[in-house]
């Protein structure tokens, strides 16, 4: 075997040293390494090496004919026939097929209990788990079926592994049927009889501290024909700390002290990830030009986002994460997920989510007959609020064209329907590109634009995947529709995409890349146990004990590797830089973290001090600022409408400012999750039934409760169906039930009232345009639910239906006695009155204003009151306004005039401190006067004094 170890000293950084080593014979011209095969541990390492070579060549005005720089994986895969090897998609498909077909009873040791649901998603998740295990074993040159044979008896899971082996055979058969071979198995096969690319004359294993067993066996094979140089980044004196392949020997590293490591001044304790990041930033700030001379390692991924946010703010540099970003959080991926969900269940609300995807609404905007996006949303949401449809089919049926916006909703649903149909209508590699092309229309992606570039990259990954699927022999068995998309998403989601390195950036390196990092100022952050040294305890298939027994990558080897790396970081900066270490106390979720064992590698006599330092409480950072508001809310100026409705007075009397917000600015929140009728709608639907009843010339004479009840029921059914369709959702069914119950009782009371002589004259009498009906010159609007007259007495009465849960007398809605805490001066003069020596204030003017409205028609002798339909049906019935003395009515009218005068003056300030059911509670933080500002109100802050007078 032609195997030779070489040592390069850690006096200097690895890339420079490595380049120097490779080009040691070079004198001038170009460095030609084209016949070399250099194995490095990662792509990033390869990049660093090639750059170092180029720099070296440039020092004498030359260039480099680069060697083949590869990762160990290459040794196993370079000569495989791509067309015969199963790709990830093929393997997943094969596994899912096996899992869906196999009798689970025959694998009782593997699946002792049946899965909750054995559907495609289950098979997919399980398949991925098997692929993970297979890959893990493959790294050690093993197949699943080998485990049962090699497993030491005391582990007691051999039956389980025999079953897994059986599944593996089925899986292999599945692939064979497609003319394919599993990738891991192909590598194992190749490792048994390997070869290297033809041009290779020398192999250099360059600072690879954790060569995989399978790759190692390739090198062992070729070593007889080609010289292999194992280059170890360490001083030669430490030669016995490495095996002949340059791997740190666990028994050596476990037992001895490190040659270099942090001193106490280089150790820093942080709290959560945010605190760690901020400490890191302040350490970095010490470095004059971080972009040119610093790097950060963040093996704990939780710290990275905080670093990315803080570095630019605190150090003026960007953090660059060479790991890239996960496709999973990208727009395109999310949209595809939405389509998958819709294919599973085309719910109306899920469709609404899709509608708000820029991709989709832009497409809709490009179609003829549809308005701009915000208008589409408005139509869609209004439709939802009104009809509460379950899925898009329901919605389509309900969207009749006589309603504003319904045609928009219909059109959108049609488009969604077409897309879904198209998506399920063929193999994904045909339908998905077509749909994507359609959705993206004439869009262009500008490579100069970071966000466009990212988008295009993700799209490229998707297309590569689809193209792979199309070309695959397994293509036939790719499910269509949602399941197929699920699989595509699973594969796509595994990808990470590198971003371009911005100018002036500090790299946020992964731990394993650090050997190759040459920045003199290095900050290691998030150095906590489990992040580094990487250790895995427990596994459903291959726990550590089995890993060790099978010769797989294990914790001992990892620890040795990480100790070596850790030492090297300090060693190589001893004379030319500095390393700082930040270790955290808690994770983002608040779990306690332990400092890494690496940090506790110190001479035994200093260990207690080190422990005291690392296990101290994290210093508290920052003092909390007291609560302050960044602004005062300044509602915009708007004009009061020309008219006023009878019900609006109550709101003004309650609070003029809130009145402005609800009645003038018309602020009304929308509940995007609305699933049932709100109180007003519940009331309205009862009103509608009663309206139809009052308009029925025959039935309004009826004294038969049964007959009336039947009518109510029938109308209620029709109204519900008309508005919500035939398939009522559960909440609506319950509301219908509730309405029916209340109406049924009302039918009885109605019959009694009729028997007492009351006959309906008019229902829903609207007096919007009634000439001469105005208060203080402002036209009055209103609708009286019911005007009836007693046949015996000739008396009129006006009735308002109330569907709130509790029955109440009308007076409670109209005035109330002043509370102990209230002073008469708190209210405008027009709003208060006294009666029997007590002070009252007006809180609502509905019924008195109704009386005023019907005066021409019915005269002054009119009763008025509520017809209550409360929850407790026994309390259903009419409650009249008891005291309707002219004085009181006059006072009410005066009050109304006062209100109108105030409105005219634009007096909407100051707000009431608090009101019952405050719709603006969340905006005011208990202090409306402090939180809002009247500056833009129509009356300006003039209102302030207005009220104080």
């Amino acid at each position: 075997m032609q195997l030779e170890r070489h040592f390069i000293s850690r006096e200097k950084d690895l890339p420079t040293q490595a380049a120097g080593y490779l080009a040691r014979d070079w004198a001038e011209g170009n460095i030609d390494l084209a016949s070399d095969l250099i194995v490095v541990s990662s792509r990033q390492a390869g990049r660093r090496l090639r750059e170092a070579l180029a720099v070296r060549a440039a020092s004498r005005d030359g260039a480099v004919f680069p060697p083949l720089v590869v990762t160990p994986e290459f040794l196993l895969t370079h000569a495989l026939d791509k067309h015969r090897i199963a790709g990830a998609a093929d393997s997943l498909l094969a596994w899912t097929n096996v899992l869906q077909e196999v009798e689970l009873d025959s694998c009782a040791a593997l699946f002792p209990s049946a899965p909750q649901r054995r559907d495609f998603p289950w098979a997919l998740r399980t398949a991925r788990e098997f692929m993970r295990v297979k890959k893990l074993l493959g790294e050690g040159g093993l197949r699943m079926e080998d485990v049962a044979a090699r497993m030491p008896g005391e582990f007691g899971e051999s039956e389980r592994w025999r079953e897994i082996g059986r599944l593996e055979r089925l899986y292999r058969g599945e692939l064979a049927g497609w003319g394919l071979q599993d990738a891991e198995e192909a590598k194992i096969g190749f490792a048994g009889d390997p070869k290297l690319p033809d041009q290779v004359e020398r192999v250099v294993l360059l600072a690879v501290p954790d060569l995989l067993p399978a790759a190692l066996s390739v090198l062992e094979h070729v070593a007889s024909a080609i010289p292999i140089e194992v280059v170890i980044y360490c001083e030669e004196e430490r030669g016995d700390y490495f095996d002949q392949w340059g791997r740190p020997l666990p028994e050596k590293w476990e037992a001895s002290e490190l040659e270099a490591g942090p001193d106490d001044g280089q150790l820093h304790l942080g709290g959560g990830p945010e605190d760690q990041a901020s400490r890191t930033a302040s350490l970095l700030a010490v470095c004059r030009d971080p972009a040119a001379s610093a790097a950060i390692a963040a093996p704990d991924a939780e710290v990275i986002p905080f670093l990315e946010r803080m570095l630019p703010q605190q150090c003026g540099v960007n953090g660059y994460n060479p790991e890239g970003f996960s496709v999973k959080s990208e727009e395109l991926y999310v949209v595809l997920g939405a389509f998958r969900d819709l294919m599973r269940y085309p719910g109306f609300s899920v469709s609404g989510d899709l509608l708000r995807c820029p991709l989709f609404f832009r497409y809709l905007e490009s179609l003829s007959g549809l308005p701009g996006a915000p208008e589409m949303f408005r139509c869609w949401d209004a439709f939802h609020q009104r009809h509460l449809p379950g899925d898009i089919d329901d919605a389509f049926r309900l969207a009749r064209n006589d309603e504003a916006g319904a045609s928009v909703v219909r059109r959108i649903i049609e488009v969604i329907g077409e897309l879904l149909k198209e998506l399920s209508g063929g193999p994904l590699w045909e339908v998905l590109p077509a749909v994507m092309q359609r959705l993206h229309g004439g869009r262009h992606f500008d490579e100069d634009d970071a966000s466009d570039r990212r988008y295009a990259t993700v799209a490229g990954e998707l297309m590569a995947l689809l193209s792979e699927l199309r070309g695959s022999a397994a293509a036939e068995s790719l499910p269509r529709g949602a399941d197929g998309l699920e699989l595509v998403l699973a594969l796509l989601g595994e990808k990470r995409i590198e971003e371009e390195r911005p100018e002036r950036a500090v790299d946020l390196q992964g731990w394993l890349e650090l050997l190759w990092e040459n920045a003199p100022c290095l900050i290691l952050t998030g150095i906590n146990e489990h992040s580094v040294p990487e250790s895995i305890t427990g596994d459903p298939f291959v726990p550590e004990s089995l890993r060790q027994a099978l010769g797989l990558k294990n914790n001992r080897a990892r620890l040795a590797r990480d100790l070596y790396i850790f030492e090297s970081l300090f060693r190589s900066r001893r004379d030319r830089g500095r390393v700082d270490v930040v270790c955290g106390k808690t994770s983002e979720a608040g779990d306690p973290l332990r400092p890494s064992r690496l940090l506790l590698r110190c001479p035994k006599d200093t260990l207690p001090d080190r422990v005291a330092r690392l296990f101290a409480d994290a210093p508290v950072s920052g003092i909390r600022a007291p609560w302050t508001s960044p602004w005062r809310l300044a509602p915009r100026t708007a004009a009061h409408p020309e008219t006023i409705s009878v019900t609006q007075f109550a709101r003004y009397l309650q609070c003029p400012f809130r009145y402005y917000l609800t009645e003038v600015l018309e602020m009304e929140p929308m509940d995007p999750r609305k699933a049932e009728m709100d109180d007003a709608e519940f009331g309205n639907i009862c009103h509608r039934v009663l309206e139809e009843f009052g308009n029925d010339h025959r039935l309004k004479h009826s004294e038969d409760p049964a007959e009336i009840g039947d009518f109510f029921e029938d109308r209620l059914n029709r109204l519900f169906t008309g508005r919500y369709g035939r398939h009522l959702s559960a909440p609506l069914m319950i509301q219908k039930e509730a309405a029916a119950q209340r109406l049924a009782r009302l039918a009885r009371v109605q019959a009694e009232e009729r028997a007492n002589g009351w006959l309906i004259e008019e229902v829903e009498w609207t007096f919007r345009e009634q000439p001469g009906l105005s208060i203080g010159g402002m036209p009055l609007r209103g609708k009286i639910d019911r005007i009836e007259r007693n046949e015996h007495t000739g008396l009129y009465r006006i009735i308002d239906y109330k569907t709130s849960d509790k029955s109440k007398p009308p007076e409670t809605d109209h005035f109330s006695a002043l509370k102990k805490t209230e002073d008469i001066g708190d209210f405008p003069e027009y709003a208060v009155f006294s009666k029997e020596g007590k002070d009252f204030r007006w809180t609502g003017l509905q019924l008195p204003l109704y009386r005023r409205a019907v005066r021409d028609r019915c005269g002054d002798e009119v009763q008025c009151g509520y017809f209550n339909l409360p929850k407790a049906v026994s309390e259903t019935g009419v409650r009249l306004w008891e005291d309707s003395s002219p004085d009181l009515i006059d006072s009410a009218i005066r009050c109304a005039e006062g209100v109108v005068a105030d409105l005219r003056r634009g007096r909407f300030w100051p707000p009431a401190e608090s009101v019952e059911y405050d719709a603006f509670e969340e905006l005011f933080f208990g202090d409306p006067v402090g939180m809002a500002s009247p500056e833009r109100l129509p009356g300006g802050s003039a209102g302030d004094e207005g009220r104080a007078e």
Binding site: A58, G62, R288, R356, F377, P608, A730
Partner: protein, 1065 residues
């Protein structure tokens, strides 16, 4: 020595007696006896406690390893006097060495590890995903949606659901489902999990196995009532009696079962019950309208009937309601199971269910060692073998948790060699988590259980010496809780007995420590608040460096106190409640409105809100229209995520007019919270708003603030001084609200019943018995609460409460304190501006006087070292020539599989050209034969065809031909070069290098193949110019490599489809 000397131990540790100290000692002792640290498992409840526990072990060992006296002390404490620094240092090393293997954590995390390693065994398909509270909310929404709408549930599920809902709300019509359902599930979810079988719910045979006298009575209610009416009408009655009777009867007519009792029913019914036996005997003294009335015969019979039927109907209804509720929960749970759990998304609660199984279910039990039967052997897959078990806070362990652990512990306790051990510690007097299913009875039960099997298998140790509290506080605690006679007079005997069982008189370790305990009276809430403030002003804890807490019974009270102190006080106050940083400030809600408006432009509330804030001005300044702003926000959310979009808008605000410090702090929290939301991949604005609204963080105060918190949160903490105001409240012996759940001795649910009104419960033997037990349990728990509250302080405790009402018999905290503490006369005292009555005091009221105010301590931070100039390392911008020019890609080709295909095709063509060294007469035939190989892929054939076509063209032949015999050719040759500070990486398709007569390089030609599909009519020159940048770069590189002047290097493009060679300059 060996670990076999170690005994199993149960420790009852009173508050402050050093539980953590004992636990860590135990741990060290085990190691001293030779146990490997990774074989010791220690579990507790909170992550914080677990973290502290581990830290403490290491710190202890470190101290003992460094310091001889420490070593001696520790060695003595663990009963291994021979040990010294050396040994402890060794131990320290050993622990560190195995750090990654140590199982020191929470029960939850331990259970999670098990689940993660046995997915298939538990019916999962892979590693589960843990749902946090916020994520659960979103999932719940999905489940509701499913239950309400989903077509699969359209008929069966929905019908059943509806029936159930009607049943569950029997008698009380309900017009809103969503909120009600949420409440049902919130309140009863746990009960359902304990009793997932319908048979336990509202089942009379289970509740009354002996039968129930009331149930089943029908009678003729109308007739009974009317007859009674007539009978009473003919009696001579006082006005008040008549009125009462009439009210009663008309209420009875109106009332329907299940509905709340109407006014006028309660008194007459209770009075009738008091004489029910007399009624049955036919003669009774019935008190009605405040006066006795003798009734007999028919009157008695009818009245008894009315009562019977009232009871029967009420019980019947409640049974139905209970069954209905079961059905509702069942529908919900089933849907939840299918939609959420089946997908492997679990909460810690779900994990516990999977592991503990349901009664009668098939959950596997856990074991160690070799797997046998249906046991899951955890050792192997968890990479651990646990010989020694340490369980902390055992009083809070639930039955479900114990059910999981039981088998494992059984193995330990019954270990034949005795090399394993079990140790549990806790305080039965601090069992305040019954509402979280903690079951304090387990403590003693398992002790008895194991000792029955093997006497003295577990030894009991009680620790009642407080290291925390000084003598004044301890004396007070003893006076209150040692007075079992007083307790017996007030509380259910069962509760008092249990208390007595767990109680030992306390002692203060630091006998001489100065301290103070007092009980102040203050009339109402306002006065109590003032008293708190004045006390704080007098003591000035913060200035003296003392930690201080105000403990109250509810979050609401905590907020009130905080509010008052902030408004009137002059010291920093921290509310230790959870804050909602997303919505507790104007900036956060404005951001939510901004997003909501963008997604739901019809929401006028959100829109106007935005316009009232500087966001409105920003929109006007930056966007041509609202529509543009909306699209930009949605673009941001979908492309960059909520977090980045929020950050961007905050940044704009900063630029616009700045944000103050408080809001800036909040903005950072919101950005981080949003990032966590983004990570789940959601883009739904409504979900986001829910998430941020509910997002809560625990704010913990420091010694620099007065901390106000609930008693529950104070558990496990200690302070220098504690104020306990607002001690008023209901009587302690009161069954907790909610479902009645009756359990057997073995904690299997016997029955579940939505109990009827008090009057009925008290008059039914079974229910009354249950009620008593439940009340005693509740009473005990409340006693624990007071105990926890009173034992938090080290030096001083101030109890503040209103005076006991003269006629109050309500056995609440105040009564207990009054009866146990007050003996002499109360004295009046003025504290600052507040006037109070001191009804009890112990110790030195001026305890604080001797503690001097401290100067401000500098806060620790990173040491400033000044700016350092590190050497620069060379970093070059990397460039690849083929990417020399940015392009605009159109969507059609981006999403075209054909363009992928042409990419592959291009690669093939390049490969074939690369195969040609110099064009000669054999070239074509070689390609032809490759083309006609049997298994040649169609793409290869096509590519060969294209190359052959090209080779027909003279110009092509020429560039591929050998210019002179000395010429050299590079094919597909990679290079790396630094040019003008840029690092260039590329590959030449083909380079021909000519030499002059002397063998010196004199000319180079670069040839690049382009396989673009160009239309026939395309303008070649402009197509070529697209590539000129690229070729220029190639030229410079080649010039560098060959040392040729650039002028001697020709660049050519071969457009293969058009078979044209084009020169580029």
């Amino acid at each position: 020595m060996s670990a076999s000397r170690i005994r199993n131990e149960m420790i009852l540790a009173s508050a402050g007696s050093g539980k953590t100290y004992q636990l860590t000692n135990r741990y060290i002792q085990l190691m001293a006896l030779g146990a490997a640290p990774e074989r010791i498992i220690a579990l507790t409840f909170t992550r914080k406690a677990a973290g502290e526990f581990f830290d403490e072990i290491l710190k202890k060992l470190a101290r003992a390893g460094r310091d001889r006296p420490e070593a001696v002390r520790l060695a003595g404490a663990i009963g291994c006097p021979d040990l010294g620094c050396r040994e402890f240092l060794d131990m320290l090393e050993r622990v560190i060495d195995r750090m990654h293997l140590l199982e020191l954590g929470t029960l939850d995390s331990f259970f999670y590890r098990i689940i993660r390693n046995f997915p298939f065994e538990l019916g999962l398909s892979g590693p589960p995903e843990i749902l946090d509270e916020n994520a659960v909310r979103t999932e719940k929404q999905r489940v509701y949606d499913h239950v309400f709408h989903h077509p699969a549930s359209r008929h069966d599920t929905r019908k059943a659901f509806l029936e159930a809902f009607k049943q569950a709300t029997w008698g009380t019509e309900e017009k809103r489902l969503g909120a009600r359902l949420d409440r049902f599930i919130e309140e009863n979810h746990e009960v359902f999990l304990q009793a997932p079988e319908p048979g336990a719910w509202g089942n009379p045979d289970r509740i009354w196995p002996e039968g129930n006298d009331w149930l089943g009575f029908k009678g003729k209610p109308d007739e009974d009532i009317e007859t009674l009416a007539t009978l009473f009408a003919n009696r001579e009655l006082t006005d008040r009696q008549r009125e009462t009777v009439e009210k009663f009867l008309s209420a009875l007519r109106e009332w329907s079962p299940g509905a709340p009792w109407l006014t006028g029913m309660k008194r007459p019914v209770t009075n009738a019950l008091k004489v029910f036996e007399q009624l049955e005997s036919g003669e009774a003294d019935y008190v009605i309208g405040g006066k006795k009335l003798r009734i007999a015969g028919e009157e008695c019979r009818r009245l008894a009937n009315v009562i019977r039927r009232l009871f029967a109907a009420e019980l019947e209804t409640k049974l139905q309601v209970t069954r209905g509720l079961y059905e509702i929960l069942n529908v919900y749970e089933t849907a939840y199971g299918e939609l959420v759990r089946a997908g492997g998304r679990l909460t810690f609660g779900d994990i516990l269910i999977l592991l503990s199984g349901t009664p009668g279910g098939t959950a596997p039990c856990l074991g160690q060692g070799n797997p046998s039967g249906d046991r899951l052997a955890i050792d192997y897959r968890l990479d651990g073998r646990f010989d020694h078990w340490l369980l902390d806070e055992f009083q809070d362990t639930s039955n479900a948790q114990w059910a999981v652990l039981r088998n494992l512990i059984d193995e330990v306790v019954q270990d034949a060699e005795g090399c394993r051990s079990f140790f549990y510690v806790g305080d039965v007097k601090q069992a305040i988590f019954a509402w979280r299913q903690g079951d304090v009875r387990l403590f003693r039960e398992i002790f008895n259980h194991y000792n029955q099997a093997a006497p003295s298998g577990i030894v009991e140790r009680r620790m009642s010496e407080s290291w925390r509290s000084g003598p004044a506080v301890i004396a007070t605690v003893n006076r209150v809780f040692d007075d079992h006679a007083a307790m017996s007079g007030m509380f259910p005997e069962a509760a008092v007995a249990r208390w007595r069982d767990g109680w030992d008189s306390h002692e203060a370790r630091h006998r001489d420590a100065s301290g103070y305990a007092a009980y102040f009276e203050a009339a109402d809430a306002e006065e109590q608040h003032a008293l708190i403030l004045e006390t704080l002003r007098e003591v000035q804890p913060l200035r003296r460096g003392l930690s201080c807490a105000v403990l109250v019974q509810s979050n609401r009270k905590a907020n009130e106190v905080v509010h008052y102190l902030r408004e009137h006080g002059d010291m920093p106050v921290a509310s230790e409640t959870d804050i909602h940083p997303g919505v507790d400030n104007p900036l956060g809600i404005a951001l939510l409105s901004l997003f909501k408006w963008a997604a739901y432009p019809g929401d006028s509330y959100a829109r106007e809100h935005v316009l009232m804030t500087p966001f409105g001005e920003l929109i006007k300044a930056r966007f041509p229209s609202g529509v543009a702003a909306i699209k930009s926000i949605l673009d941001g959310i979908h492309r960059e995520g909520f977090s980045a979009t929020a950050a961007e808008w905050f940044r704009r605000l900063e630029e616009h007019g700045g944000i103050e410090r408080f809001s800036r702090g909040r903005s950072e929290i919101i950005i981080a919270a949003a990032r966590r939301f983004d990570r789940q991949g959601g883009r739904n604005v409504a979900d986001f708003i829910d998430y941020i609204s509910a997002y809560s963080v625990r704010q913990s105060g420091t010694a620099e603030t007065v901390q106000v918190m609930t008693i529950h949160k104070a558990k496990g903490l200690g302070f220098d001084m504690v104020i306990l105001p607002h001690l008023e409240g209901n009587r302690l012996a009161r069954r907790r609200d909610g479902m009645g759940v009756c359990q057997t001795e073995h904690r299997e649910v016997e029955w579940v019943f939505d109990l009827p009104t008090k009057e009925i419960v008290e008059n039914d033997d079974v229910l009354a018995a249950y009620d008593q037990v439940a009340a005693a349990d509740a009473c005990y728990e409340r006693l624990c609460q007071l105990y926890v509250a009173m034992t938090r302080t080290k030096r001083a405790m101030y109890l503040i409460a209103p005076p006991m009402k003269e006629n109050s018999r309500s056995a609440n905290f105040i009564r207990l304190l009054n009866e146990t503490l007050i003996s002499g006369e109360a004295t009046s005292r003025r504290i600052g501006e507040a006037e109070t009555k001191v009804v009890y005091e112990e110790g030195d009221a001026a305890w604080h006087a001797g503690i001097e105010a401290i100067d401000e301590v500098p806060r620790s931070g990173v040491v400033e070292t000044g700016v350092i100039d590190f050497p620069r390392c060379v970093r070059h911008r990397r460039k690849t020539p083929s990417k020399a020019k940015a392009r605009k890609i159109n969507a059609i080709s981006l999403f075209s599989l054909d363009s992928r295909k042409s990419l592959d095709f291009g690669t093939r063509v390049h490969e074939i050209f690369a195969g040609i060294e110099w064009f000669d007469e054999d070239t074509e035939s070689r390609i032809q034969s490759a083309m006609s190989e049997e298994d040649a892929a169609p793409m290869t054939v096509e590519a060969c065809g294209e190359v052959l076509e090209c080779l027909r063209v003279d110009a092509v032949r020429r560039v591929l031909g050998r210019p002179d015999p000395g010429a050299e050719v590079w094919r597909e040759r990679g290079f790396e070069v630094i040019l003008r500070d840029e690092w260039l990486t590329g590959t030449f398709d083909r380079v021909t290098i000519e030499k002059d007569g002397t063998g010196r390089v004199c000319r180079g030609t670069i040839l690049d193949y382009k396989t673009d599909k160009l239309g026939e009519s395309c303008d070649l020159a402009s197509a070529a110019s697209e590539y000129s940048e690229q070729l220029k770069t190639y030229r410079s590189a080649l010039a560098r490599m060959t040392a040729l002047p650039e002028s001697e290097i020709a660049c050519k493009l071969l457009f293969t489809q058009l078979r044209r060679v084009v020169d580029v300059d």
